[in-house]
Structures are given as structure tokens and as C-alpha cells.
């Protein structure tokens, strides 16, 4: 059986599944339950500075986008950092780490952008015996209005400055958690690296309003008739998170910087995908908040089975394996030609491919009077829409046209050579470059 043991920044955990800094890791009781359920590590819910803790709203904190049968597709929250005192949290962290030495315990921190504030809290956190810290530069609601969280994460100079303080006053690994509410995530990542960060984790939640109550005209969750944007997470954000992860993994400035992947990890497959894009582990929240801590058992079992099937003996075997295949559009092979093909045995004649293609795409599917659907090669641009709207998996496939065959749409013979936009005659830039 595959070995899921992960060593991230020298921190060992029995598997790559950590719970993200969030409500599930707010206190000892939950974290002990998580460890008993099998989670490899936790990032403790963000601690604030000493003194009276923040207060949360006393109305609803969450809103959700539901799929069929109320499946949670996206979750939005307006909860702040821990609303329990620093002392109690530190005591609990100390006890938990002592009892679970084999699990990763990372402490998330958010204090004002003043050196003294960090200087004060870091030794106390260090004293807990926790394995590292994560700097919460991502929380997009509430705390950002007070100059913390995403307000820091959106200014690379601040990231660099605070990270540097942390490396100065704290001896263990420092992870910088990035906000996606920014134009180019590579800039804050590079700033974190310049500040000495051992790793970045991403993404934090995305600014969001999940719904508006059409009776009260209030965004939801609604507090006494008013709503505010929250932070969006869950399966819906995974594609955004993976893209941002890949950008950091590919950028020359940040390539090789360890990444803890966060954003909609719900199954083993999600985790595997994040790891192939360069993540050393993943952090999970919404899946646990939806189904409870037991979901980690599926993640562990699924990842092990897949690794065994593929012959991977450790996470390292496939970590970053998809990065070389992640490129810019301009480098995609324009000589590659595919055509949709409909397997008539699998087709259930729903006609969705036809409606989608006929109404919104390239009129490349023919429908007969007896509801037989066939691809018109002379029109098909291989856009893949029919594949994706077909309710039967693998009924429609994209078939590569072998070199030597003639593309019925263009009349050109498919060639084996690689050619991309940078050299294409239609590209004014390509001409200018000559």
C-alpha cells in the first residue's frame, strides 16, 4: 500500500490531508476529534492579538450555493478569526500537540501590521510546541476592514515586511496564506518568498455574495435585514484555486516554493490534482463542514488506491507532475486536430449535444428523424461542448485526427509538426518578430 506520509517543510504528517484554519479547528475539542478521525494535520483557527477577542455576529454566518438534492457546491462565511481568548487557545494548542506528536499542528495568526504586535505573539506561539505558523493574509471580510487579513495580502510590500518579522521572531516554518482577491497572485507569492516565507498556502476565500433574499431584498446570510460580502469556498472554487496554484508553481520567481493547496478539496481526486500542480499537501474545510471529519477516510483510501494503481509509492512521485504540461495558450499546438465522435451504442438520444451545438456552437451535429445524432466533421471544431453536456460519460469523445488524414473542416492534411501561435502567420507579433 502506498505511503501517504508527507513531509512538508520538514513537518511530518501521516497523510497530506490537513484541516484548514477555519471553524473546524477553532478549539481543542474539534481538533482532537479530527485527529481521532485520521486527519494528518490542522491549521489552528486564526489567533488574534492578546486582549479582548473579536466578536462575531449573532445571526447566520454561512450562505450556500446548493446543487441537486441540496448538495453543497459553494459555501460563504462571514465569521471572523477566533473569538476566544489568546491564552485559552495557546493552552489548548499546547495540550493537543503534546498528545498528538505525529500530527502537524500549525497556528494561524493575524495581528495588526505592526512589528511589536508580531514580536509579542510569536514567542507565545513558539512555546506551544506547534510545528509552524500560517500568516492569515487572506480573510476577505470583517478583518480586512480593520487593516488585516486580505488588506495585507493585497499589498505585496506588507506581505514581505510581515513575513520578514515572522522569520526574525519565530524559529519554525512560516507559511503565508494568500488571498485570491487580487489581480495577479504571483506578486504576493513572490513577496512572501522575498520575505523569507518557507511556503505559501492558497487560496483563502473569495469575496462573494451567495444569494439575495428576494422578499427582504437583503443579501444572505442576512443579519437584521442587512448582508455583507463573505468569503467563498467549497467545490465551486477549486478551479480558481488550482489555476492560482499553477501560476505560482510555474513562475520563475516562485517555482519550487512549497505550496499547501487549499480550495474545494472534497475527495481524494481533488487532492491528487492539487498535488500534481505542485502542492506538497492540501488543506480542507468545506468538505469537513458539510460531511464531518469522517470524510478524510475516503480521501486516504482513495488516494492510496490510486497511487497503488499508478505505482506511486509516495506523494513525491507525482508531486508537480502536471506542471510541465501547464503552459500558456500561445504554446498550445495549433496543428493538433480532434473531432467529436458519438458512440451510438451508448447514446440515449436525449439530444442535448444537438441543442448545444446547433444553438450555441458550430452546427456540427446532425439529428435524424429517428433521433440518431452524428457529428458533421466538416463543421466540428472539437470544442468539447457536446462531450461536457452529454449526460452519459464517455459517450461522446474527442478523437485525435492522425497525421496524414484530412481535416474535413479546413481541407488541410493533419501534420505531425508542432506549431503554435507565436509562429502563426496570422499573428502580427510573429511577423514583427521576424
Amino acid at each position: 500500500m502506498a505511503d501517504l506520509t508527507t513531509e512538508f517543510l520538514g513537518i511530518k504528517s501521516p497523510n497530506p490531508f490537513w484541516l484548514a484554519s477555519a471553524p473546524p479547528t477553532d478549539k481543542e475539542y474539534n481538533v482532537r476529534r479530527a485527529f481521532e478521525a485520521g486527519w494528518g494535520g490542522v491549521v489552528w483557527k486564526t489567533l488574534g492579538a492578546e486582549g479582548p477577542p473579536v466578536v462575531n455576529v449573532n445571526g447566520p454566518r454561512y450562505g450556500v450555493i446548493h446543487g441537486a438534492d441540496r448538495r453543497v457546491l459553494g459555501l460563504n462565511n462571514i465569521e471572523l478569526i477566533t473569538d476566544r481568548s489568546l491564552e485559552i487557545n495557546l493552552e489548548e494548542i499546547t495540550r493537543v500537540k503534546k498528545d498528538y506528536p505525529d500530527r502537524a499542528v500549525i497556528v494561524s495568526i493575524m495581528v495588526p501590521c505592526e512589528e511589536q504586535a508580531w514580536k509579542d505573539i510569536l514567542p507565545k506561539v513558539e512555546a506551544t510546541g506547534a510545528d509552524g505558523i500560517e500568516l492569515n493574509f487572506g480573510c476577505p471580510h470583517g478583518m480586512s476592514e480593520r487593516g488585516m487579513g486580505a488588506a495585507v495580502g493585497q499589498v505585496p510590500e506588507y506581505i514581505e515586511m510581515v513575513t520578514r518579522w515572522c522569520k526574525q521572531y519565530y524559529s519554525k516554518p512560516v507559511i503565508v496564506k494568500l488571498t485570491p482577491n487580487i489581480t495577479d497572485v504571483r506578486l504576493p507569492a513572490a513577496a512572501a518568498k522575498r520575505g523569507g516565507a518557507d511556503a505559501v498556502s492558497l487560496i483563502n476565500t473569495i469575496n462573494s455574495i451567495v444569494s439575495v433574499n428576494l422578499d427582504s431584498m437583503s443579501p444572505e446570510p442576512s443579519i437584521d435585514g442587512k448582508g455583507t460580502h463573505g468569503g467563498y469556498c467549497g467545490p465551486a472554487v477549486k478551479p480558481i484555486a488550482m489555476s492560482m496554484v499553477s501560476e505560482i508553481a510555474r513562475a520563475p520567481d516562485t517555482a519550487g516554493l512549497p505550496i499547501s493547496g487549499i480550495g474545494g478539496v472534497t475527495t481524494w481526486r481533488d487532492a491528487a490534482e492539487f498535488i500534481t500542480l505542485g502542492c506538497g499537501n492540501v488543506q480542507v474545510c468545506t468538505a469537513a463542514m458539510t460531511y464531518g471529519f469522517k470524510v478524510v477516510q475516503e480521501m486516504i483510501g482513495g488516494l492510496s488506491q490510486w497511487m497503488d494503481e499508478k505505482g506511486h509509492t509516495s506523494i513525491q512521485d507525482f508531486m508537480g507532475a502536471a506542471i510541465p504540461n501547464t503552459t500558456d495558450w500561445q504554446y498550445l499546438n495549433l496543428n493538433y486536430v480532434a473531432k467529436a465522435e458519438i458512440n451510438q451504442d451508448d447514446c440515449i438520444s436525449c439530444g442535448r449535444c444537438y441543442a448545444a451545438c446547433e444553438d450555441t456552437s458550430h452546427q456540427a451535429i446532425a439529428m435524424s428523424s429517428d433521433r440518431k445524432f452524428t457529428v458533421i466533421d466538416a463543421e466540428c471544431v472539437a470544442c468539447n461542448l457536446c462531450v461536457e453536456v452529454c449526460p452519459v460519460e464517455n459517450c461522446i469523445t474527442m478523437v485525435e485526427q492522425k497525421p496524414g488524414t484530412v481535416d474535413a473542416r479546413t481541407g488541410k492534411t493533419v501534420v505531425d509538426d508542432y506549431a503554435n501561435w507565436t509562429t502563426h502567420p496570422n499573428n502580427p507579433g510573429a511577423v514583427a518578430a521576424e
Binding site: 441537486a68 436525449c350 439530444g351 439529428m367 449526460p391 452519459v392
Partner: protein, 445 residues
């Protein structure tokens, strides 16, 4: 208190609780969340096969999508737009042979979208609000007589009224509804649904209903054709075929249609007598309805005896299974030969049949079953033709419902074509109304 074992024909075989349970809704209505989940299974097919399979062409993918977006009232309007009796059809349609059989998910996985139950969810939701979703067009000043207030007549009358015509709707019975009121198994139309549906339908306005008026009795076609701009006949089939066997006149031989009617109209099911041993002759829906309800009333042994094989039965496989699941024995390839009065226990003698050279005939081999009651369900006949040209024992009509006589249209079970389904009758009534409208308003020959 009697029991299922009590010999002969008697009432009160089951207690009130059992009867209430037995005659409750066959399928509980879908709750909103169940409906949302069921609706989500619809693929919103292009040019959907379910619509093609629906005799009334309801835009099924659209109404299901409207349910899934939380607007079952809009879904209901989509349904009623094509089928004003969509509420009853949701209850009685053999969906397993129509829309749900055509559903691509039936083809793909043997589990269709539950179209019938979703339709009921939508129509029940709107009707429970007491909303009638249509308004009449400006009055045209034209008058139409509709004779027979069953599914075809109601559908025709509603459509005509909606188009602005004034409709005189006649029915021979004390209540409107036709077979919806008198002829459908009680567990398919609970809580007096048929009568409520008629009241709801008439809320369109422009329709005057007169009960107790039958064609050939209080009404005659010449008079109607003289007094109205058009006439639509939807008188149904008033007669029943006789068994035509020895002992067929015996008191224990009962018309299944009458038995079903009795069940529907009674105030107290416990007072209805039923035999300990019941044999139903026939292979259609009436046979199944009579057999199942005999069982539900407390008969101990109920057998459907059908002269051909299972595949030839006009009751659907679903209905056959429904009967079997209630403990009704299905006996195929037997025909009745004689009813023998044996004093305390009456017997029916059945003869096995076989098809030779394409012709069904008795083999000579017989069997006898105890039969305190024999329900005859071997088809119904037209009783009033108004002197019109017939075809196959029914009033001959064109595709648009025209009879051989000008100004006279016909539809439903009394007219040629069709398949004796409620939904088909609704479609015929609606389409005839459209043709009547086109004719009355000119521009059509």
C-alpha cells in the same frame, strides 16, 4: 364483523381502518423537496421523446424545469395550456406506456423521470391555491353545445370557452366528469378529486352545465344543430358487452363498470358487499380496477381470467403488476364457458384457449373456480349515435373530430380512432375545439 373468509357475498369484510388505508392515495404526492430531486433527473432533452409520446403534447421538459426552479405554479400552467385535465391525467395516465416509457432515462437505466408524479405535484400546487390560470377571450357571440361532460367534453368546453364562445355542456348523469367521476379506481382519484377538478375547470366562465340530459332522450341532434352554431358529441360508451354464456344472466354476474361506479359513489365502503371468491372476466383497465378493488374491499380470492396471453392484455404491465402485488391471480388463455349455480357456492367454468391459424378458440379443456361474484369487463358499446355514420361501432370522425354531419364534431370514447385513454380524450376534445373555433370564426372550409 365478517372476514375475508366469510362465505358468499357480504359487506364489512375489513374494518374501517383497513378500508381507509386500502383506498388511500395509490402514490403519495411528492413533497416539494422530493419534487426538486425528481425534477433534477430530467435532462431537458431536445425535441423530447416524452413530449412526442404524450397524446396532449405537454411540454414536459419545460414544466419539470419550472418545478426545479421553484415555480410549480408556472409548471402547472405549462401543463394546463395543453391539457386542462392535467391533474386527473397525472393520476390515471398509464405513464409507463407513454411519457415515462419514452423517457431517455428509461432507455438508459430503466428508471424514467417520474413525470406523472411531477405533473401531479405541479397541478396540485396550483389547484390547491384555487387559481384558474386562464382568462376568456372577448365573447364571440357563438354558441356550442357539448354533449357529455367526460374528459373529452370538459376539455372541448374549456377550450371553446377560453376562446370566447358560449358553451352549453350537457351530461346524462347527475354529476359531470364522466369516467373520471364514475369509472376510475377509487385509489387513483381520492378526496373527490374528479368533482373538484370539474369545479375548478368551470371557473373559466362561459360554460353552463346541465346534468340529467342525455342525447336521444332530452336532447336530439337535430335540435342541437339547429339551436347552436356547433355541436360536440362526447357521450362515451354507455352500453356493456354481455358475456353471452350459459348462466350469464345469473345474479352473480355483474357488470364491472357498475361495480366500479358503486365504489366511487358510495359514502361508506364498508357497506359494499363483495364476494369471498371473485372472478373478473376481461383484460383491460376496467378488469384490473374491478379486481384490485375487490381485493381491497376484502375478497379472499380474486382472479382475472383473460382469454389471451399476457402480452395481449390492454392493461399495462404496470397495472398487471399492481394487481399481482395486491394478491390478484392473473389467469391467461382462458375464456368463460358457463356460470354454474351450485347453491351456496357459485362456480364459473373456464375453458383454456389457444390460437390456431390466427384464430382464438377453446381447447375443450376446462377448469372451474369458485365465484361468488363474476365481474364482466369485456368492453363497452356506443348506445346513442345520433344517426351519424359509424366506424367500428363508434362515431366516424376525421383527424379534426369532424363527423359526417356539418356543424357536428365528436371525440372521446364514442368517436372512432383513439385508444380509450383519458389523455387521448382530452386531446381530441381540445383539438376539436380548435377546429370548431377556426370554423366558426371563418377562414376555414
Amino acid at each position: 364483523m365478517n372476514s375475508q373468509m366469510t362465505p358468499g357475498v357480504t359487506a364489512r369484510r375489513l374494518n374501517d381502518d383497513s378500508l381507509r388505508e386500502n383506498f388511500g392515495d395509490l402514490h403519495a404526492p411528492l413533497q416539494p423537496h422530493e419534487a426538486a430531486v425528481a425534477a433534477d433527473r430530467c435532462y431537458f432533452c431536445h425535441d423530447a421523446p416524452c413530449v412526442t409520446a404524450c397524446p396532449t403534447d405537454i411540454d414536459i421538459p419545460l414544466f419539470i424545469r419550472q418545478i426545479s426552479t421553484g415555480t410549480p405554479e408556472a409548471a402547472a400552467t405549462t401543463i394546463f395550456d395543453m391539457n386542462i385535465l392535467g391533474g386527473m391525467c397525472a393520476r390515471v395516465c398509464p405513464t409507463e406506456e407513454l411519457c415515462e416509457q419514452a423517457c431517455v432515462r428509461e432507455v438508459a437505466e430503466g428508471k424514467p423521470v417520474e413525470i406523472g408524479r411531477l405533473q401531479r405535484h405541479a397541478t396540485d400546487t396550483l389547484m390547491a391555491k384555487g387559481v384558474h390560470p386562464f382568462e376568456r377571450a372577448d365573447e364571440t357571440g357563438k354558441t356550442v353545445a357539448v354533449v357529455g361532460a367526460g374528459p373529452a367534453g370538459l376539455s372541448c368546453a374549456h377550450r371553446l370557452a377560453m376562446l370566447g364562445h358560449n358553451v352549453a355542456l350537457y351530461d346524462a348523469r347527475p354529476k359531470a366528469g364522466g369516467l373520471n367521476e364514475y369509472g376510475i379506481a377509487a385509489y387513483k382519484s381520492t378526496n373527490d378529486f374528479a368533482a373538484k377538478e370539474v369545479d375548478w375547470l368551470l371557473a373559466i366562465g362561459g360554460i353552463t352545465l346541465e346534468n340529467g340530459k342525455a342525447l336521444g332522450d332530452a336532447l336530439n341532434l337535430d335540435g342541437l344543430a339547429r339551436d347552436f352554431d356547433a355541436v360536440f358529441l362526447s357521450v362515451g360508451l354507455g352500453g356493456v358487452n354481455a358475456l353471452g354464456i350459459d348462466g350469464g344472466e345469473n345474479d352473480s354476474v355483474i357488470d364491472a363498470v357498475e361495480f366500479i361506479e358503486l365504489l366511487r359513489q358510495t359514502d361508506d365502503l364498508a357497506t359494499l358487499p363483495v364476494g369471498r371468491n371473485v372472478v373478473v372476466i376481461g383484460g383491460g383497465m376496467t378488469a384490473v380496477d374491478a379486481a384490485v378493488q375487490s381485493k381491497l374491499l376484502g375478497a379472499q380470492n380474486v382472479t382475472i381470467a383473460y382469454r389471451r396471453g399476457r402480452e395481449a392484455m390492454s392493461a399495462s404491465r404496470y397495472e398487471q403488476d399492481l394487481a399481482a402485488s395486491h394478491g390478484v391471480q392473473l389467469l391467461f388463455n382462458v375464456q368463460p364457458k358457463a356460470v354454474l349455480n351450485g347453491g351456496s357456492s357459485t362456480q364459473i367454468e373456464l375453458e383454456y384457449t389457444a390460437v390456431t391459424n390466427g384464430k382464438l378458440a377453446g381447447t375443450g379443456e376446462t377448469l372451474s373456480l369458485s365465484a361468488d361474484q363474476v365481474f364482466s369487463a369485456i368492453g363497452q358499446t356506443l348506445t346513442t349515435d345520433g344517426g351519424l355514420v359509424l366506424e367500428g361501432g363508434k362515431i366516424a370522425v376525421s383527424e379534426r373530430g369532424r363527423t359526417n354531419r356539418s356543424k357536428v364534431w365528436a371525440g372521446g370514447d364514442c368517436a372512432s380512432g383513439g385508444n380509450d385513454l383519458t389523455v387521448t380524450a382530452v386531446a381530441e376534445g381540445r383539438d376539436a375545439a380548435m377546429d370548431i373555433h377556426a370554423t366558426l370564426m371563418g377562414g376555414v372550409e
